[in-house]
Amino acid sequence: MEKEKHHIVPYKVYFYILIALITLTFMSIGITKINLGGYSVLGALVFSTIKSVLVLTWFMHLKFDQPFLRFMVGFVALLFFAIIFITFLDYYYR
């Protein structure tokens, strides 16, 4: 098997990502301080999702990996949401 090319990520990129992650953390704290009613959970989860995408793409190198891994990460996420959705078909309508 030929050796796959390895991408070396510069340190400063990791640093920028960290700054973005910390900013997003404070933003998610901020948004839950505002009274949005039922939407504040949604707000906080949107920020968490953005953060996790950043971690997955840069820290976990998905950006430089084979597309199959990216596809499977998406698949696992979808699978999880489908399970939650179907379970809520029970609890929401009970």
Partner: protein, 537 residues
């Protein structure tokens, strides 16, 4: 690093003298073929225990009232029977034995991707089995919850349940690691030129299975952890007195345990998809359709768990959804049956032992499948829920499906695994007794269930007596057939005639290596050309 050149290519894996002697040459071996046999012998031992418990239940049910055991013993017996058979036999069954043995050879690899992890999986399997056995032998009382460990009884019962739950959790780990190993093996170690759509169907089925093992097992893992914590600390998640919802336990449990049924049946279907073309000497009909249906079963099978819970008080919306999805998952199974039958059509059929097991598989699998439709429909499900009908249904699928495929597979690959042929007359007699016994044992239970006999009781009303006698007689005939099959296989491993390299004229790669295969399977890794394929007859 040791180089491959140091390993002799003409010594079979059975005769190879490694660093260790005696039993250590086996339990320290990372050779996938030896690990497969380790699994096979440990499973065979546990299987005989499970069969003995099953026979004891049938003996108890031969007459109304107490025959050989009381209600508490009966509860313990069906619990241990279920835990052993489900978690230790049918879930690991075909992947751990034939998957381990055949997968690397069929895709042209020298071993699985992570051989040490593979051996570790077996150790974890044994640890899990020992934990379950410990829950039976020690503590105050044998577990009596049934293999499903339903809340809230699973944390109220005074019996020694924790080791059993922990054992099931540990067995899950073994299953996850095996799945992980197979996926990486299939991705990275296929022979040069063997593209995805030139891969034989048994590896394909293992691939689908491995994904389910990987993505469903952790859910039951965490569920079992929660039940244990509930039992130890009283965290409240499944305890209605503390605000928890026991139905949520059922959801979580079946989110794994329904896909687990496909962990059992997919490799069985894969083995059948190998046997049928070989014994019809014909290219498999609808190769890609079988692959697509494998993946479709693996995927849709994920979302049908609620059909185990139609009487649990679930919302109507959830019930319709699960019912519809259950009907959808029947389609790919039917596609496979259609393809097997079409493969036989106009083939040169050789009705040898493996083929007999394979066609019986199709027959009992269809009975099991059709009775599954009865259970998947809401109205009829409510009527037969928790009756002997359900017991008959899942024994037709899980024992009929997996069991017949397992025996088909072992008669198919036996000459490859041991380098010797079994006695065909005895094998045929064993098959005949087993099949007749199987049908006599489980068919009456469909009738009993429809007449209203509930499952999991040691006693029944006098009007159910006749059918129960028939069923118990069947269990003896089946056990007799089983004994013949096992003794024949055991004796032939030493004394049978030497088997040729390709006794059935199969075309997949395992028939191109000597029987039994050498330590590293191939002298040279085979190369698949443009025109090569697994079923070019």
């Amino acid at each position: 690093m040791q180089t491959a050149a140091q390993i002799p290519h003409d010594v079979s894996y059975l005769d190879y003298k490694g660093k260790y002697k005696g039993i250590f040459a086996w339990i320290f071996s990372t050779d996938h073929k030896r690990i497969a046999l380790l699994y096979m012998f440990s499973m065979m031992t546990l299987f005989l225990v499970g069969v003995a418990l099953g026979l004891a239940m049938k003996l108890e049910l031969i007459a109304p009232g107490r025959t050989i055991m009381g209600p508490q013993s009966y509860n313990a017996v069906f619990t241990v029977h279920g835990v052993i058979m489900i978690f230790m036999i049918v879930i690991p069954g075909l992947p751990a034995v034939f998957g381990n043995f055949m997968l690397p050879i069929m895709i042209g690899a020298k071993d699985v991707a992570f051989p040490k992890l593979n051996l570790l999986s077996w150790y974890i399997y044994v640890l899990g089995a020992l934990l379950v056995i410990a829950s039976v032998l020690f503590g105050n009382g044998i577990p009596d919850t049934g293999w499903t460990f339903y809340a809230p009884y699973s944390f109220k019962t005074g019996t020694n349940l924790l080791p059993a739950i922990f054992g099931a959790f540990v067995l899950g780990f073994s299953s996850i690691l095996t799945g992980l190993n197979f996926i990486v093996t299939i991705h990275r170690m296929r022979a040069p030129g063997m593209t995805w759509f030139k891969m034989p169907l048994f590896p394909w089925s293992l691939y689908g299975t491995a994904w389910i093992q990987l993505l469903a097992t952790p859910v039951v893992g965490i569920t079992l952890v929660l039940v244990s914590l509930e039992r130890i600390f009283g965290i409240g998640v499944f305890d209605p007195t503390l605000g928890g919802d026991p139905v949520l336990y059922q959801h979580l449990f079946w989110i794994y345990s329904h896909p687990a049924v496909y962990v059992m049946i997919l490799p069985a279907m894969g083995a059948i998809s190998e046997i049928i073309p070989t014994f019809s000497q014909k290219h498999i009909f609808g190769y890609k359709a079988i692959i697509a249906s494998t993946l479709a079963i693996a995927f849709v099978g994920y979302f049908v768990w609620g059909h185990h819970m139609f009487t649990s008080g679930m919302s109507g919306t959830a019930q319709y959804t699960f019912s519809i999805l259950t009907f959808i998952v029947a389609i790919p199974s039917a596609i496979k049956v259609f393809n097997w039958i079409s493969t036989m059509h106009k083939g040169s059929i050789n009705p040898d032992i493996p083929f007999l097991w394979a066609v019986t598989f199709i027959f009992v699998f269809m009975i099991g499948g059709f009775s599954g439709l009865v259970l998947g429909a809401l109205a009829t499900n409510v009527y037969v829920h928790d009756t002997a009908f359900v017991v008959a249904h899942f024994h037709f699928i899980v024992f009929g499906g997996v069991g017949f495929a397992f025996f088909g597979a072992i008669h198919y690959w036996y000459p490859k695994m041991f380098g010797r042929m079994y006695d065909k007359a005895w094998a045929k007699m064993g098959w005949a007794f087993f099949t007749v016994g199987f049908l006599t044992l489980y068919s009456p239970m469909f009738y009993l269930g429809m007449m209203g006999m509930p499952r999991r009781y040691y006693d029944y009303l006098p009007e159910f007596h006749a059918a129960n006698i028939l069923s118990s007689l069947g269990s003896w005939v089946m056990a007799f057939g089983l004994v013949i099959v096992i003794i024949n296989l055991f004796r032939s491993a030493k004394n049978g005639p030497i088997a040729p390299m390709d006794p059935w004229h199969g075309k997949t790669l395992e028939w191109t290596v000597p029987s039994p295969p050498p330590v590293e399977n191939f002298d040279e890794i085979p190369v698949y050309g443009e025109k090569d394929g697994p079923y070019n007859y």
